[in-house]
Symmetry: D2
Subunit: 432 residues, 4 copies
């Protein structure tokens, strides 16, 4: 399917192993996981035992921590392109497979931060148990009171008092904060709110989850889903105190950290979205070719609009996959900054594609499509949110437009040269 992008034999081996693991273990475990999450308050206090089973198996299969790309000595040494192809496979089972491989957000991004910027002490204390899948983590950035899509709006204060930072702020959409295993937060706030350089006001500090002053207020819902046990929580920080050693990279370097953190993460999300789209298409094809479901004398696939929808979905998915892989390849060949435009394009295009693909699949299912009996409605909630998370469409669009519009002068210069040359040809009796 993705043959134009060559991957190493080792990656091909991992692909095969992972496909088997997802089909034989993760997908069969999906409903079991869901039922083990339970109901009521229990959803937030226990963790489905089947997940530990899956994690153990993944580890034994060598399908563990694959996200850490070749720039990290701690990881298995895959390229971003290679790991992207694996994300598509786990994306078919997004509720279970990524975590089973210890490759689920927000832990992956947090581990990258620790691996890239962490002190030896920070690594020992947090990176090691995270990489072992013993604890989980959260990244606290989005705030209730401001439009966080412009990250310079962030208002949480990180005030240095002696050897400590005192943190005060009101965050929400802190994914993972509801999980009893969540032991550590990376908190973004302003340590230097008056710095004239807007992008140097922010710092990121490590905050143990049991630090006094942290209150997990409530889980937010995404459409009707709470995504327990991780959840996306509203969290208040009131006079939360951590040692100054907990700073990441240094004061005022928060933006630097998140820039490095987000690029590859967006690609991972996008490739999982491709997997979700492929599964949605599979679910649809199974339904519309089901010989027992007929309307007006024919199976659904024999209605022309349904077949046309299937073709449309196939085209949209393939084009999206190429865009993501191409961006991943660009990261490999340059770096996240060099691939900024490519990442932005994938980040804009893929979730919108996924929305359309799922919407068509839902329609082919009738009411069943919006229910708990199929993964479609839940996938849709994820797709819709992905257009907002990690920067809304609009921010990426404007960034991309800026790049393109900078070409204006060059284009006009070339147009002038063409005009001059035309005059020359005409002067020459219309001879070259």
């Amino acid at each position: 399917m993705t043959s134009i992008f060559e991957v190493s034999p080792r990656c091909q081996e991992l692909q095969k192993k992972l496909i088997d693991f997802v089909n034989n273990d993760c997908l069969p475990a999906e409903e079991i996981y869901e039922s083990q999450v339970g109901t009521g308050d229990k959803r937030w206090t226990s963790v489905p035992p089947i997940m530990e089973e899956l994690k153990a198996k993944a580890k034994s299969l060598g399908l563990w921590n694959l996200f850490l790309n070749k720039s990290y000595p701690e990881g298995p040494g895959l390229t971003n392109l290679e790991y992207a192809t694996l994300c598509e496979i786990t994306g078919r089972c997004p509720r279970v497979a990524p975590e089973a491989l210890n490759c689920s957000a927000p832990d992956t991004g947090n581990m990258e931060v620790f691996a890239k910027y962490g002190t030896p002490e920070q690594k020992a204390k947090w990176l090691v148990p995270l990489m072992n899948g013993k604890i989980r983590s959260a990244f606290a950035m989005t705030e209730v009171a401001v439009s966080s899509s412009d990250a310079t709006n962030i208002e949480t204060s990180i005030e240095r008092v002696g050897d400590h930072y005192i943190i005060n702020g009101h965050k929400w959409w802190i994914s993972g904060a509801g999980d009893p295993r969540c032991k550590v937060y990376l908190v973004m706030g302003k340590s230097d709110p008056k710095n004239e350089h807007k992008y140097r006001q922010q710092s990121i500090v490590v905050v143990p989850a049991d630090t006094p002053g942290i209150e997990v207020v409530r889980p937010m819902q995404v459409f009707g889903y709470d995504d327990a046990p991780e959840g996306h929580c509203e969290v208040k920080f009131t006079n939360v105190r951590v040692p100054v050693a907990n700073i990441i990279l240094g004061e005022g370097r928060g933006f630097e950290v998140i820039q490095g953190r987000l690029g590859p993460g967006r690609i991972h999300h996008c490739m999982r979205a491709i997997g979700m789209a492929e599964r949605s298409l599979d679910v649809m094809i199974a339904r519309v070719t089901d010989p027992s479901r007929r309307t007006f004398g024919r199976i659904l696939a024999r209605h022309g609009t349904v077949a046309a929808d299937v073709a449309k979905m196939r085209i949209e998915i393939n084009a999206s996959r190429l865009m993501v892989l191409s961006a991943a390849d660009k990261i490999d060949k340059t770096d996240a900054k060099g691939a900024l435009r490519d990442i932005a394009m994938a980040k804009i295009m893929v979730p919108q594609m996924l929305q359309r693909v799922i919407d068509l699949a839902i329609q082919a299912h009738g009411a069943a499509g919006v229910s708990q009996d199929f993964p479609l409605a839940r996938f849709y909630a994820g797709a819709r949110t992905l257009r907002i998370a990690d920067g809304p469409d609009e921010v990426h669009t404007m960034q991309l437009a800026r790049f393109e519009l900078m070409r204006g002068d060059d284009i006009r210069a070339r147009d002038s040269a063409i005009k001059a040359r035309r005059a020359q040809i005409l002067d020459n009796g219309s001879k070259l």
Copy 2:
């Protein structure tokens, strides 16, 4: 807003009263209602007390049973057009206002069935308490095993044995069946499955909810919502036995009944959808003009794409409203059958519009837009479902296409006449 469609002074009076009631009572009660629904199993066993408060107030204000149009002596005598304008108002608060007025589905359609086709006994037993708001009801049509969008696929059997019908079938998406107040079902099934006329195989029978053999299996979810206490339930009927007097209209007349039932109901749904769209737009405007929310130095509304979205939403809403009112007006001037095309057009157009409108509003809210803090995500789940309920888009589309395509011969005849006339003009030296 809807001035081109004249409504009576009495209806104008009702509009004003209703707007006040929705603003002063229903919208303020929305969150209270939600919290009274509770959590866990309690959601299905109790009914929020605030609803009885609202019902009492609506009754005292004369805002009661407004849906029963002028063809019913029992009702307040509004035209379909007039009632449609009121549906838009209740649609702004869809979780609370329609029920407060005793105007919520599926009760309204069921009351119409009883009022139009019921025997005096059926009316006394079921219509009276329904109209008093003392009990609720359900309509059991959609089935698990077949594509119910082609209603001839329905497989539930209604077998006459002596003076009784024995009902066996497996239904789902039975709205209202989870409600403790639901006391009666109208069940559609096949009483004559071998009748060569495919539309005379079906009958509808009245089934008291406490009849032995009825099992409410589970509530279905719509996106993550369960819509308790009503719910949309999976229900099994196993050897359920009711007297033959419980037949509606007569054996084999099931299709006749549902045809009459669905037309105006679709209009009501569509107009409430207009109200939901207007509220979504209001919510969006409040957000993007909020002076405290700025990105990149401006309030959101000063970003060109946001303003363009607002304009687009306004156009789509207004066009949709005109289509629904026009269909309602057509019902009034002919009847539901005469307005078949107009109803189909509204039914196709409006929910798709609502999806787009809500999607834009969500995007302007960032993550808050998909959460429980705004009505948008929940509205979206409703909008998406409306494209499936009461006949999916595809069925209405094909019906509408059939009508249009029948014009082929007439158009070709006119084209021939034009050609003949052209030849005549040319023969006449290009003089008319």
Copy 3:
């Protein structure tokens, strides 16, 4: 078709007569007209004789100057709504019918200007022959060098020197200027370019077409069409001199004049667009139901996507018609200014709808659809241009958005009241 909007019996009579005239004379004359336009330079020097035939017949049938609405004593006294319904009928044959009725742009707008603002001398000299269909006219506003969609950019200078104005400027897209019958221009320019009020810098003056200094440079093409004999011309004004009596309404009142001129004109364009859309749909239906055209064993209409397209076109057309008629009705009930939002909505919505409708019709025709054998490609060129003419989509969109966004404060106030009332209910033990 448009029954919800009541029109007078007299208008119904005119509708019938006009339908007959279009079917029996205009549509049969279409090809004849086209062939009489001729080829090469002849296209700009002669006028198809069949047009004078048609004009004579229309006049004799009382189908003449119908555009002048009831506010003009010179006209037949129709409302804007009534005339709009007639525009749909002529819109089916846009190349021939509107001119045959002396109801074609830009003459209609110019006649309105003369009728509304003209001095008795101006009326005698220009309005009378225009209303008799003896001469034609042009409106010179758009300029080569500036973005004319912001009309304050207009640079043409109208300088008063003694008893004359001296006009210098470079215009293009001056519709009608190529026609040998075009005897008069209304020219917009700046008489007071330094006026601090940006909308009082402009004036409009009457310029006889034979005034020295006017050079018709070339006809512009719209896609590949030149729309001869009228054309849309590039025109240079070099020291063109007219008496001061030729001012319309007074110096600095140019904006006032065009505001009054454009509102109803946009509605006329939109309703003709509805007629073009209906004809496109007819053409498509005739094609896809043609029993002699089959692909893969079926006539085209039996392919599901084709039928779905037909339904989609019907819905889009009907919704658009309602929007235009509603705007026309609003003009009648208030005035062009009062209907500003409604006109903007129709102006944005209708040409986009027409583009989509024609595009689908083209696709159903295969290559024939883009050719001279069907009206579709030519209609498309018109539809595309209509999104730019009389203000591009963007200008109307921003204007409309501004209106909506002004509601922000009111919405927030209502939200506050709802919150306060909720608190009150809660205080009252959750009782109303």
Copy 4:
């Protein structure tokens, strides 16, 4: 731009040379070519001399016949992928550059046919002068009376009488037939109309353009363009007689020939479309960043919707390019048949993308956008036609859908395996 697809150093060299040639010669020659085509009947009798200049220069630069891929010993030995990257470059100047390189349709496809299937005599007589750019050719397939998108509908008869074929048929949209240099047709018709195998009824024969009985009736227009001097002509074949040696490949093998002919050709069209899209975007960027064009106080690019359009165009173009290159690569790695799905996807996706991209560019130009002063409207006419030519969207869509839908059984089998495994896990106490 297309770095993920590696091309050989030789191809990179050709890319550079070609970019220079297009910028320095082709684009400056565009207007000159257009004016040399002339007006009136002259358009069909002469050939712009500048074209011969360009051809000579291209030949001298080694930019000649590049389309003949590595499977042809006569060609320069590029892969399909490599040639595709060159097509994008010529696509920026589609009116002039492809022909200058002797790489324009329909000659390229016809040369491939001769090269692949021609007899030595056919090659000597037709392939050699075609490859030298001395003559041109046409492919006669589409017919007036039938829906040619289902090629089995073709009715032209090719009847063998002794040593000759007698051809009778009525074709249209025969591109190139208007050109005075067009010396040969490949004509598709039915030699065995009663063959029970529907795809063996057709043959293709070589018909010299001066054979008696051929009548070029008229050029068809594409949106007002006639595309002189090549044109797309209506052509009648009346008792046209050619020797049996003129058959291609053998009787009844017409489908085989066109299948081989069309695959790569579609890729070439698509890549030129990418070039047209890139030029459209360039044109737009130049316009909207032009400091002299301002509306409402800002250059156009500072209006948010314009910038968003630019970003959208960039994404759509890049995704489309990847799809085409990926299909070209697939042809290289398998063959045209192996890449059937990929070609279909590109063929559906790219012209629709191009339509949208051009439409946005037009809007940013105002009326200028639809005129002869910019390439946009003409490009649009080409884009629209491309959705019909070489098989309309619908045919490719249904073919693609068929492939996908064949996966139904496999998907259901996998789902069953997942269910069985889940049961096993549950039986095992929820352990893997």
